[in-house]
């Protein structure tokens, strides 16, 4: 009979203290000397007229005024935009928030509680926000799980697929402007880039499913392929109306082109088709056939476990954020407030200042706020069908995609063309507004 080793709290604490001790010893005896030797030979960089050195960094912690220009400078760095805002970190945090909201929202709709205990005892002020730390708990759980690779799996592809998915979905964020000037890659073919990147997902899903060397993933992968290809065409066609009206592929300029009227007012059908196809692209209910658990277990995710599964989920939620952001950019006027608020002008709240250094201008701050709020709203709308719809069947899905949605999106294109030729709206702006 196997004896279970008794858990001793004293041993546990002792091991942690022992570990801390060794880390401190290594840091002071090895790492600190190395840093100082390097600093001795390498001259400190000079940024914004201030010579950078470790002492300055330390004093910054006490007196942030010293570091304010530095922070301002950092905000302009491309690396900050890629890594923090509006890049990966922001997207990941947004995705986490979306997951939490989804769970609570769905629970409310289903007359239950949802995440409840995690975080309830930690923050006494967060009693009403039960389950606040649930996402952290889930992350820790996924990190602690073993990643099982099935025998006979194609290991390189199997490992690479989650990473590729995260990279591809993060790449989507690059072209989406989160505020005036707040875009990682302000390129003139932004919309084309979005569709180029979206083309990665079905291929990656198929590769992941094929590499799993199992039957359910394979069927799921084929379903994902069918579905995403069938829905990519209406997705592109629905956006065509926007391109016709704005005459742009650059997403920032598309936002600017929506100055008086958001395109959802001019092209409601296009917005509808885009919303539906975005749901299908995201494999969300009612289009979650590739993950239909009652037929094919978990579809192409079946063999993934632990953090590789976590990465796929993260990728899918980042993609949700990206597509919601794209919807906002294309149809809801991006960072612009609703038309009435745009006239507030000087009464609008001031920007984000830090000890006299303006980090964000008023326009930027309000733009970012509006973008986040709108994106969040669209994301919640995308979560809503999960509570009220069953899963659709593959043949109905394909028929809807190929026959109905494409036809509707053609109607949308004709509406856009009509608006263009009637002069109601167009690259030159609406009638009566003199274009610069």
């Amino acid at each position: 009979m196997a004896t279970v080793q008794e858990f001793s709290f004293a041993e546990f604490v002792k091991s942690i203290l022992w570990l801390t001790f060794w880390i401190l010893v290594i840091f002071t005896l090895i790492l600190l000397p190395i840093i100082f030797i390097v600093l001795f030979f390498v001259p400190a960089p000079e940024i914004a007229g201030i010579e950078m050195n470790p002492y300055l960094l330390l004093t910054m912690m006490v007196n942030p005024q010293i570091g304010a220009p530095l922070i301002n400078l950092t905000l302009d760095q491309p690396f900050f935009k890629v890594a923090v805002f509006p890049g990966f970190t922001f997207a990941a945090l947004f995705a986490t928030a979306i997951i939490f909201v989804e769970r609570k929202f769905l629970a409310k709709m289903q007359i239950r509680v949802g995440p409840y205990y995690a975080g309830r005892e930690v923050f006494w002020w967060a009693r009403s926000l039960e389950g606040l730390l649930q996402m952290l708990a889930d992350l820790l759980k996924l990190l602690g799980k073993e990643v099982i690779i099935p025998a006979g799996a194609d290991k390189p592809i199997f490992w690479a697929a989650p990473v590729v998915l995260v990279v591809a979905s993060s790449a989507l964020i690059a072209v989406i402007p989160a505020g005036p000037g707040w875009v990682i890659a302000d390129i003139d073919v932004g919309l084309l880039a979005v569709f180029a990147i979206l083309g990665f997902f079905p291929l990656t899903a198929l590769l992941a499913s094929w590499a799993s060397n199992s039957k359910y993933p394979f069927i799921g992968g084929l379903r994902a392929l069918h579905q995403m290809i069938a829905y990519e065409i209406p997705l592109i066609l629905s956006v065509l109306g926007v391109v016709i009206l704005s005459g742009q592929l650059n997403l920032s300029k598309i936002v600017v082109a929506q100055e008086p009227y958001w395109y959802i007012l001019l092209l409601p059908i296009g917005a509808f088709v885009f919303f539906i196809t975005a749901l299908a692209e995201l494999e969300r209910v009612p289009f979650d056939l590739p993950e239909a658990e009652s037929e094919i277990v978990a579809g192409w995710l079946t063999e993934y476990s632990g953090m590789s599964y976590g990465l796929i989920q993260l990728a899918s939620y980042i993609k949700l954020y990206a597509l919601a952001g794209l919807f906002v950019t294309l149809f809801l006027g991006g960072w612009m407030g609703p038309p009435p608020l745009a006239f507030l002008g000087p009464n609008a709240p001031s920007g984000v200042d830090m000890f006299g250094v303006e980090l964000l201008s008023t326009q930027e701050a309000v733009g970012i706020l509006w973008f986040v709020v709108k994106t969040f709203g669209v994301a919640v709308l995308m979560l809503l069908p999960r509570g009220i719809n069953p899963r659709i069947r593959i043949d109905i899905l394909l028929r809807t995609g190929w026959a109905k949605l494409i036809a509707i999106s053609f109607i949308n294109i004709f509406i856009a063309l009509a608006l263009l030729y009637l002069g109601v709206a167009g690259p030159a702006g609406p009638v009566g507004v003199i274009s610069p």
């Binding site: 929202f105 629970a107 409310k108 709709m109 289903q110 007359i111 239950r112 509680v113 409840y116 809503l384 509570g387 009220i388 719809n389």
Partner: protein, 165 residues
């Protein structure tokens, strides 16, 4: 588009339930109230008295060690065994009393039906989790303790929906 109406109704129904009160029982903070004081049996009448079928309670001053509960359990769960006890009672010459293994018990209550001396009843206590199997075996002394179970909620129904407590 005949489906649009149905879809609209479904969305309406779903959003309507965002304001319906939540039905979940928050278990360790809320506990259900039960009817009566546990399942009991009246051998004279031959019928039971409604109540929750939880852990048993054994009245030492009534148990005669007749083994009827153990025999009743024989074909069901074989959870009841008769063990020696230290004390001697006048009415229990053999000084044996039932010991119940709650790892095996199915809580059917037929042992209560078998007891002709009002000695073995059931109580409201259902929180019997233990770390080892041995802890699930309740000796006659443990069975004699009356559990301190306090249910505090029951289903309430109003216009806002049903809820616990």
């Amino acid at each position: 588009m005949s489906g649009a109406g149905g879809m609209f109704k479904a969305i309406e129904s779903g959003t309507k339930h965002l304001i319906v009160r939540r039905f979940t029982l928050r278990y360790p903070e809320q506990k259900l109230k039960f009817v009566g004081d546990g399942y009991q049996y009246d051998p004279k009448q031959g019928v039971g008295i409604a109540g929750y079928k939880g852990r048993h309670i054994l009245y030492h001053d009534k148990c005669t060690g007749c083994q009827l509960c153990a025999i009743a359990c024989e074909g069901i769960a074989e959870a009841i065994g008769m063990v020696k006890i230290d004390k001697t009672w006048n009415h229990n010459k053999k000084s044996i009393m039932p010991q119940i293994d709650f790892g095996k018990c199915v809580f059917c209550g037929l042992c209560v039906d078998a007891c002709p001396f009002y000695a073995l009843f059931m109580t409201d206590d259902y929180e019997l989790a233990a770390y080892t199997k041995e802890h699930l075996i309740y000796t006659p002394d443990q069975l004699a303790v009356k559990p301190k179970y306090q249910g505090n909620v029951e289903i309430k129904i109003d216009d806002q929906g049903a809820t616990h407590g």
